[in-house]
Amino acid sequence: MHKALVACRAGVGSSLMLKIKTEQVIKENGFPIQVEHSSLDAVPGFDGDLLITLADVAKELETQGLKQTIIGINNIVDKIEIESKLSQFLNR
C-alpha cells in the first residue's frame, strides 16, 4: 500500500477537492494508495512515497529535492488525467 499526501497551499479548498476526486479514482480502479490531505506545511514531515498536488505547485515542489514522487494535476475534475498519472506512478 502506498501512502499519498494531497497538498495545496491552503489545505482547505483545492487540496480537499483534489483529495475527493483522487479517492473516487482510487476506489474505482482498486489502486493500492491511501490518501491524506493538508497544506504544504505538512510536506516536510510526510513519510509516504507520493505527493499529489495542482500542476503549478508540483513544479515548485520538484525543485526542492524531495524523496517522494510528485504528481501535478491540471484539472481536478478530470478523472482520466488523475487515473493515468496514478497508473504511471504504480507502473514505474
Binding site: 497551499r9 491552503a10 479548498g13 483545492s14 475527493i20 476526486k21 497544506s39 503549478d56 515548485e60
Partner: protein, 148 residues
C-alpha cells in the same frame, strides 16, 4: 451542504474585471462585506497568486480564490462570481478564467461534504449553462439546492 455556505448576496453575475487581481478582489468583496473574511485574507490570496502562480485555478475556466485559515478566514462561506469577459490567470491548461468561487473555511474538515458537492457541480455541464444564463443570483443558488 454547499448551499449553506453560499448566500444570495455572495453571488455576482457578469462582473467587469480589468485583470486577474481585480477579478480576485471583486470575487472576494461580498465575503468581506458579509464579515466572513478580513481584508488581509484577500491580500494573502493575491500575494500567493503573484509569488507562486495561479494555484487557485482548478479546472477549465474555474478559479477557487482562498487562502490558509489563519490569514483572516472568519467563517465558512463561498461566493460565486461570473465574469462578463474571461480573464487570463497564467494557468495555461485552464485559462481563461470565467467563474470564481471565492471561499473561506475555518478548518479543513467541516466542509468536506460541501466540497464534494462542488466537485460534482464542476463536472456537470448543466451547471455551467446555469452560470452562463442565470438572470439573478437565486437562479444559481436554486440549482445548487436542487442538486443536493
Amino acid at each position: 451542504m454547499l448551499s449553506e455556505m453560499i448566500k444570495e448576496e455572495f453571488i455576482q453575475l457578469r462582473i467587469d474585471a480589468s485583470d486577474w487581481e481585480d477579478a480576485i478582489r471583486k470575487s472576494a468583496s461580498p465575503l468581506l462585506n458579509g464579515g466572513k473574511i478580513t481584508a488581509e485574507y484577500i491580500d494573502k490570496i493575491i500575494e500567493t497568486a503573484q509569488t507562486s502562480g495561479p494555484y487557485i485555478v482548478v479546472t477549465k475556466h474555474v478559479a477557487l480564490p482562498h487562502a490558509p485559515t489563519q490569514f483572516g478566514a472568519l467563517d465558512l462561506a463561498m461566493g460565486i462570481t461570473t465574469l462578463k469577459t474571461p480573464i487570463a490567470s497564467g494557468n495555461k491548461a485552464n485559462d481563461p478564467v470565467k467563474y470564481l468561487f471565492c471561499m473561506s473555511a475555518k478548518d479543513s474538515e467541516t466542509h468536506l461534504e460541501s466540497m464534494a458537492e462542488l466537485v460534482n457541480l464542476l463536472s456537470d455541464q448543466k451547471f455551467y449553462q446555469v452560470l452562463d444564463t442565470a438572470e439573478k443570483p437565486m437562479d444559481i443558488l436554486n440549482y445548487i439546492i436542487e442538486t443536493e
